[in-house]
Amino acid sequence: MDHGPAIQSGPDKASSYKSKLGVRMFIVYGIVYLGFILINTLKPKLMAVEVLFGLNLAVVYGFSLIFLAIILGLIYNYLCTKKEDELNKEEEPEK
């Protein structure tokens, strides 16, 4: 039984770039998520403070975590695709 990927793809030169970018974005999101947990645990009353459109911090922070995940995801995909296309182009003439 071979243990290769489902469909063989060539060596991916962008993989180390993508990996570093992914870890960085993960750290950014992780800090924002950690902030949410810390406020809830250490200063829970802060979550009741009204901040925007009559909404309290709990709702605004919660929605922001959801939107931030979507926005970071789209940025990550854009940068990865750009890098992949860039490196694939460079590779083609060598073949």
């Binding site: 039984m1 071979d2 243990h3 290769g4 990927p5 489902a6 469909i7 793809s9 060596p11 991916d12 993989s15 180390s16 993508k18 990996s19 992914g22 870890v23 974005m25 993960f26 999101y29 998520y33 949410f36 947990i37 809830n40 645990t41 829970p44 009353k45 979550m47 009741a48 009204e50 459109f53 009559g54 909404l55 309290n56 911090l57 709990a58 709702v59 919660g62 929605f63 975590l65 959801i66 939107f67 995940a69 979507i70 970071l72 995801g73 789209l74 990550y76 995909n77 990865c80 695709t81 992949e84």
Partner: protein, 636 residues
């Protein structure tokens, strides 16, 4: 509570279930070989896979569990939405592509790609089985929840029905059919949930939310020497009283029917009660269930809009809806149990809750000292949020979806689409849950029914469609889980035993194990009736985050990781998480024991079991460094 089946929901429900089976059989005929069965031949387009991800994920836990928890505990239920979604960030940024580059069928393959270790194969297969079964329980409970109001049949018939249909789907088809089924249902669920939310916003708030809404009654008590001796209402007489949980409850008799009332500043407030007599007879509000004395709850007692108190307010937007709840006062029902002579009484009593408390954490997870928080309750909260964050990327049935698309790039794109779809849906859950909390639709006996019953209050057609779609989503999720679990048994354990097994034989093995796992799921689904499904899913996340996540992460990012390190960390994470869960207060209640006797006093093991798993991996890897001489280097 009693539910009457109607013809329309049954017809729509039937059509959707038949359509699901039809797709499965059709695609099943076109599936061949082990790769086709377990990973759809790696041929699914990324967009389809992305929505299928969402379909898998937005199952009973999200639609039923989260909405129900929000309806009963407000913002605390929404914490699950936030945690579940945040978990996808870990999956996308750290796990998706590297894992896709390493694996073939299962995440065991990926973990084992550099080692060919018997220990990893065995441990990863067992952990896949355990996590899948824990994830299956809430799905099955959810299935039972859905069919009760829809078809008017008991919970266990729903569980059994789902079990049998899913076993047929999985045994005849495989990953490709479950993917397409999930794709269709994921899309339908999001669409119809949006419709429900639009209707809820349009309807706004009213003190009498539905035509047949039963507004809980209050009676004035006649007090003498600090005791209630009578009531200012003809036909009622005081027949008993009891003090428990810091409250005085008075038993009144009227027309031979005995009901319980909460004494609150000289007023007697109507309660809901379920009395179980010694001979097993159960009375709902003092009468047989069929007499329908047990009413739906969930309403507003004071509505404030822009600082003015109003009787009702219509046509709200996404901001004003939440702002009005924040400023208003809701009527909720808290519960307690006691014995009255030889009768066991489960009582739900009125409690006015400021909307501002509903809109921030604290009603379920105690984080505020003023609301009864302790160090232990805060630890439990952090533990849950950490497990939700790291659990998603370690769920076997989520990981297996990375193998159904052609390339790592497609894995990434489908994950991002999934995040968009799931994130959008989770925002809807807040509106559906709060909508259910104030529209007089809640069944105090089951928080899981909140969303379907909200849809029912809007219209029978919407209720029928959304219940059928949710039910079908449960079918799809359960199918996906069973494929993952049977994949673990057939593929990983066969590898572990070192037998040369042909592809055809693997599929047969997979299908046989699918039947066994399905039967286990049916039994557990019946046993766990009544527990909030999202709470149960939280446990699956905890086990996955503890057993699988440290192994995956360290394999990808720490070169000194050894095979023995991975195997022992999976074992440590799984055993420690399971031990804490099985000895948790919630499980003690399930065993029929006192929750206070639970040795650890916490429900969520993540904060203990995840670090333990990491430490085990690091220590064992450092001790067994010489094993890495034979390790195969991974090339990207």
């Amino acid at each position: 509570m009693i539910y009457d089946p109607s013809v329309l929901p049954v017809i729509i429900f039937g059509i959707i279930v038949v359509a699901v089976l039809g797709i499965s059989f059709y695609l099943g005929k076109r599936t061949s070989g082990a790769k086709g069965y377990f990973a759809a031949g790696g041929t699914i387009p990324w967009a389809v896979n992305g929505i299928a991800f969402a379909g898998d994920y937005l199952s009973a836990a999200s639609f039923l569990g989260i909405c129900g928890m929000i309806a009963f505990y407000g913002y605390d239920g929404f914490l699950y939405s936030i945690g579940y979604l945040a978990g996808w960030v870990v999956a996308l940024f750290v796990i998706a592509e590297p894992l896709k580059r390493r694996g073939k069928f299962t995440f065991t393959d990926a973990l084992d790609s550099q080692f060919n270790s018997k220990g990893i194969q065995l441990m990863a297969a067992i952990s896949t089985l355990v996590v899948s079964i824990f994830y299956l329980i809430p799905q099955m409970v959810g299935a039972g929840v859905l069919v009760t109001p829809l078809l008017g049949v008991p919970h266990w018939i729903g569980v059994l029905g789902v079990g049998i249909i899913v076993i047929i789907i999985v045994a005849t088809a495989g990953m490709k059919s479950t993917t397409y089924v999930q794709f269709i249902k994921g899309a339908l669920l999001i669409f119809f949930s949006l419709i429900v939310v639009i209707m809820v916003l349009n309807k706004g708030f009213s003190k009498a939310p539905t035509e047949d809404f039963h507004e809980p009654i209050s009676l004035s008590a006649v007090m003498s020497g600090g005791e209630v001796t009578d009531v200012y209402e003809a036909g009622y007489s005081v027949v008993g009283s009891l003090e428990t949980a810091g409250h005085d409850f008075i038993k009144l008799s009227s027309d031979g029917i005995e009901t319980w009332w909460l004494l609150d500043e000289g007023e007697l407030k109507e309660c809901l009660s379920k009395t179980t007599a010694e001979d097993g007879t159960i009375l709902y509000n003092g009468a047989d269930k069929e007499e329908r004395k047990f009413f739906s709850v969930g309403s507003m007692v004071r509505i404030f809009a822009d600082g003015q108190e109003v009787q009702e307010i219509r046509k709200l937007n996404v901001f004003s809806f939440l702002a009005v709840i924040n400023d208003s006062v809701l009527l909720q029902f808290k519960n307690t149990t006691f014995t009255d002579g030889t009768d066991k009484v489960h009582i739900w009593y009125q409690q006015e809750t400021p909307g501002s408390l509903m809109m921030r954490p604290g009603l379920k997870f105690k984080v505020d000292e003023d609301l009864g928080a302790t160090g232990k309750t805060k630890f439990d909260f952090v533990s849950l949020m950490i497990a939700l964050f790291f659990g998603t990327a370690a769920l076997p049935h989520v990981l297996i979806r990375y193998y159904t698309v052609p390339s790592p790039k497609d894995a990434r794109k489908s994950t991002i689409l999934a995040i968009c779809a799931i994130g959008f849906f989770y925002i809807l859950t807040l509106y559906m849950g709060l909508g259910a909390a104030v529209n007089g639709v809640l069944d105090v006996e089951s928080s899981n029914m909140a969303a379907p019953l909200l849809a029912k209050s809007i219209g029978l057609f919407l209720f029928a469609v959304i219940s059928a779609v949710a039910f079908a989503t449960v079918l799809g999720t359960v199918s996906g889980l069973i494929v993952a679990a049977s994949g673990a048994v057939a593929h990983d354990l066969a590898n572990f035993m070192g037998k040369e097994v042909s592809d055809e034989r693997r599929v047969v093995l997979g299908k046989m194990s699918a039947v066994v796992v399905g039967v286990i799921a049916i039994l557990l689904g019946i046993l766990f009736k009544g527990m909030n499904v999202s709470f149960l899913v939280g446990w699956a996340f905890s086990i996955a985050a503890s057993a699988n996540f440290p192994a995956i992460l360290m394999l990808l990012f720490w070169k000194k990781t050894t095979a023995k390190g991975i195997a022992s960390s999976i074992l440590m994470g799984m055993v420690s998480a399971l031990t804490i869960i099985l000895l948790s207060p919630s499980m003690f209640v399930r065993y029929g024991m006192d929750a206070a006797q639970a040795p650890f006093g916490i429900d969520n093991p993540g904060m203990i079991s995840i670090p333990l798993s990491f430490i085990t991996l690091i220590v064992v890897s450092l001790i067994t460094q010489k094993d890495n001489a034979t390790k195969m280097e991974h090339k990207d």
